[in-house]
């Protein structure tokens, strides 16, 4: 089936929906999502969205910008980080005007809580910058944006999985998608296409990410000859539920929770003397690993405790002289925990049988967020080479994009901010572009390439490999060799394993050959995307012989600005992987050593 829209948006999380609201005001727009929009992963974000509103205490966007750049280990492009942090304030008010039910201060303003790496730049102490709606801020953003899309009659194609991007003579022409319910292929002719497809945490074994976060967007980009930027930087969030990886928000530590080892020691005192448990995520994840390695994991296992029991929290508040903004000593009660962290309490009760007001929670680092992705400029336009040349009509926003505002390590609350700021910018610029451009003709049979691959996969009944086995082996290799700690031999092994798995992938068997709602073939297709994404991640990580942010090399433990203060670009055209580099934009802040 053939469709024609000025603007096509792929993905219906926060970035896609925000872009849809803005694009649909000016041009004919449709949103394609492989899920129902409200199933998108934005909904699982918990702790808050960062904006220097200063509702509790002094704060300003300049401090937010510096914290973001410092958090990024100086790999963020500083012009982009500045755009995000300065636009944060208005865009959060905009969400409130749309109806987002933020928690409130006594004065009826948006409530804010402390979060890792966000500081008062003068005192260096944590600042309340994360605007929150209990511990379901992402859920409320997703719901609010979807509500707005309904009100403004945005067109949706729910459960349409995009399989290919149509580019001809260097200009974007549309996408090819499969309608999951029927198995039919659809061609969407468009002037502009936005990829807002999210991340690829399913590359790793322990992850906070949904089953559906499989790197579909980056894999298509790679196949179309578009490079990916900074793929070696993937964030491991320090506090995932032991073994399951389910996220426990940093907001727990924002409310005073502390990490404790088997000796009952609050070990972040040693690793980050100033802001302790609220150091940035890469720092805290490494600290947990080192505690475990030195035999101080709980019961000798590979996890530690996150303790938010009031008696523990209040003991440390008292020890450290922590005060409320009005100068009174800060204290929390069990009721505060239930009120401010209801979902966390629900998760730990459901999955662990642990009541967080009475018992500590077992946690370990969990693969969480892609700092890298499809390279874009500050208007979400994809830039496809080391000279930042715009690929006309192709856009990317949200986790799939690399602007780069997060550099080598993202601060908590900056992902929700990224999706609304750059989703909005994408929508605005797509309108401009569509109004200035004509529809260019589609190539003949634009879906032929995809149809061939899709049908080849669908007809594989006699293979000898199961997709689930290959996926599991990939996840193990990436977890063991391209995780929190990395070194050359291990990563070389990972690359070899991935090459072998890609070969085995050619021999997988499917059980389901039907057209109707065939998730067997979809999962196999997604596995192909995961393997492509994993491979470029491992290769880019192997090449970068320094430690920076989320990329920590045991064989190169220091940051090396002389050789490595640069973004990587990785191509995988026709099966050969190539790397190149481009400079980091530095405007106001010269790189310094990072201390928390």
């Amino acid at each position: 089936m053939y469709h024609k829209y000025d603007a096509i948006i792929v993905g219906a999380g926060g970035a896609g929906l925000m872009a849809a609201l803005y694009a649909s005001r000016g041009v004919k727009t449709a949103v394609l999502s492989k899920l129902y929009p409200t199933r998108s992963h934005t909904g699982t974000a918990q702790g808050g969205v960062g904006a220097a509103l200063g509702n509790h205490e002094e704060d300003n966007p300049e401090w937010h910008t510096f914290d973001t750049i410092k958090g990024s280990d100086y790999l963020a492009d500083q012009d982009a980080a500045k755009v995000m942090c300065y636009e944060a304030v208005d865009v959060v008010y905009e969400l409130e005007h749309m109806g987002l039910p933020f928690n409130r201060t006594e004065e009826g303003r948006i409530a804010q809580r402390p979060f890792g790496g966000h500081t008062n730049n003068v005192t260096k102490k944590p600042v309340r910058r994360a605007c929150y709606a209990a511990d379901r801020t992402g859920h409320m953003i997703l719901q609010t944006l979807y509500q707005q899309c309904i009100q403004h009659n945005v067109t949706f194609f729910d459960e349409f999985h995009v399989l290919d991007l149509i580019i001809e003579d260097g200009v974007t022409r549309g996408v090819v998608a499969v309608e999951i319910a029927t198995g039919e292929l659809h061609v969407f002719h468009a002037k502009a296409v936005l990829f807002a497809t999210g991340g690829w945490g399913k590359v790793w074994r322990v992850t906070s990410n949904a089953h559906t976060l499989t790197g579909d967007g980056p894999a298509i980009a790679l196949r179309r000859g578009i490079p990916l930027e900074d793929m070696e930087f993937f964030q491991f969030h320090p506090t995932g539920i032991y073994k399951m990886g389910i996220l426990i928000t940093e907001g727990v530590r924002g409310e005073g929770g502390v990490l404790v080892n088997s000796e009952g020691e609050r070990f972040m005192d040693r690793y980050a003397p100033t802001i302790k448990d609220l150091a940035s995520r890469d720092v805290v994840s490494r600290a947990i690993y080192l505690e475990v390695r030195d035999g101080r994991g709980i019961d000798g296992k590979d996890y530690v405790h996150l303790d938010v029991r009031p008696e523990t929290v209040n003991r440390y508040f008292e020890r450290d002289g922590i005060k409320n903004p009005d100068g009174t000593p800060r204290r929390i009660t069990a009721a505060d925990i239930e009120a401010k962290l209801p979902d966390i309490a629900d998760f730990t009760r459901t999955y662990l049988g642990v009541d967080p007001t009475l018992q500590p929670m077992p946690v370990q680092p969990t693969a969480h967020y892609a700092m890298g992705g499809i390279p874009t400029d500050i208007w979400a336009r994809v830039v496809a080479d080391d000279k930042n040349t715009v690929l006309p009509g192709f856009y990317a926003a949200g986790e799939v994009a690399c602007v780069s505002v997060h550099g080598a390590n993202r601060l908590g609350t900056n992902s929700l901010l990224d999706i609304i700021v750059f989703g909005k910018r994408a929508g605005i610029d797509m309108v401009r572009y569509c109004q200035e451009s004509d529809f260019l003709p589609l190539p003949k049979e634009p879906e032929a390439f995809t149809r061939e691959q899709w049908e080849a996969l669908l007809s594989r009944q006699n293979g000898r490999e199961r997709a689930a086995d290959i996926r599991r082996e990939m996840q193990n290799a990436m977890m063991d060799y391209v995780g929190v700690f990395r070194e050359e031999a291990g990563m070389k092994q990972a690359v070899e394993i991935l090459e072998d798995l890609k070969e085995r992938y050619r021999h997988i068997a499917l059980d389901d050959a039907g057209k109707r709602y065939n998730t067997d073939v979809l999962e196999a297709w997604e596995l192909g995307a995961l393997l492509d994404t994993a491979e470029v991640t491992a290769v880019a990580a192997l090449e970068r012989s320094e430690s920076r942010g989320g990329h920590y090399r045991e064989d190169h433990p220091k940051r090396d600005d002389e050789n490595w203060l640069k973004h990587s670009l990785v191509w995988a055209k026709d099966g050969t992987i190539e790397l190149d580099y481009k400079p980091v934009t530095i405007t106001d802040y010269q790189p310094k050593e990072r201390v928390y």
Binding site: L35, Y36, T38, R39, S40, H41, G43, T44, L53, Y93, E96, H97, M98, G99, P101, F102, N103, R104, T105, E106, E107, G108, R109, I110, A133, A134, R136, H139, M140, Q143, T144, Q147, Q148, I150, Q151, A181, A210, H211, T212, M244, I246, D343, D346, F347, T350, Y351, R466, A467, A468, L510, D511, D512, G514, K515, R516, Y517, N518, T519, D520
Partner: protein, 232 residues
């Protein structure tokens, strides 16, 4: 531990009528029912079809009937449902394939209650103010994830699919009681119609089914009360 799964199977493309698929899988007591379903799909029978995404009770994809009660497959642990587990699609919506139902009728009901903030007064430069108490008034109903567990557990909805159902009323409640909204009366009018809130017979299945612990029946009662106060 070894468990027995009995799963309702139906592919309208090939089957004349639904049947039961029986599977034996090895799981941990602390695994989710979703993990057991995945085990079947990944290692025994790839044709088994279900929706799922986040796997921790937030995205709302995997509402199914487990041993006769509506639950999210990712939020029920094996140890809590025993060694013999029956899994069926939620009731009252057309089955697309196996555990996947057509959500469109459900989403249409959701859209019918104007589920978005309506306020044409020009907003201030900063946020609209709202007191902690005003915010608390509709807190419970903001938790809804549109999983349809409530609506498809409701006998009134089973007998009459035009009934808007508990989820849509929960969504309406979220705006009717938001101090910033100005269209409460319009929503009350919609819900006062014959397919609206009076179809609720206070059976409480919805409250039992809600994976987010929303007091659904209470929210419906509050909407009914508000109608009476408004002379509807």
């Amino acid at each position: 531990m070894k468990i027995q799964l009995k799963i309702r199977r139906f592919n309208p493309e090939t089957d004349k009528k639904p049947s039961w698929g029986k599977y034996e899988v090895e799981v941990e007591p602390t695994d989710r029912v979703l993990d057991a379903l995945h085990y079947v799909k990944w290692y025994q029978d790839g044709t088994l079809t279900l929706r799922r995404s986040c796997a921790h009770g937030i995205c709302g994809s995997d509402a199914v009937r487990i041993n006769g009660r509506n639950r999210l497959a990712c939020k029920v642990l094996i140890k809590d449902v025993g060694r013999k587990i029956t899994v069926e699609p939620i009731l009252g919506l057309p089955v697309v394939k196996d555990l996947v139902v057509d959500m469109q009728p459900f989403m249409d009901h959701y859209r019918s209650v104007m589920p978005y903030l309506i306020n044409d007064e020009p907003p201030p430069v900063t946020e609209r103010h709202q007191s902690i108490e005003e915010r608390e008034r509709f807190d419970d109903t903001t938790k809804c994830i549109l999983c349809a567990a409530c609506t498809t557990s409701c006998p009134s909805f089973w007998t009459m699919g035009q009934y808007v159902g508990p989820a849509a009323i929960v969504q309406a409640h979220r705006f009717i009681f938001d101090s910033r909204d100005r269209a409460g009366r319009e929503r009350l009018n919609i819900l006062a119609a014959s397919d609206g809130v009076w179809r609720c017979r206070t059976i409480y299945n919805c409250t039992d089914a809600c994976p987010r612990d929303i007091q659904v029946t209470q929210a419906i009662a509050e909407v009914k009360k508000e109608m009476l106060l408004n002379g509807l």
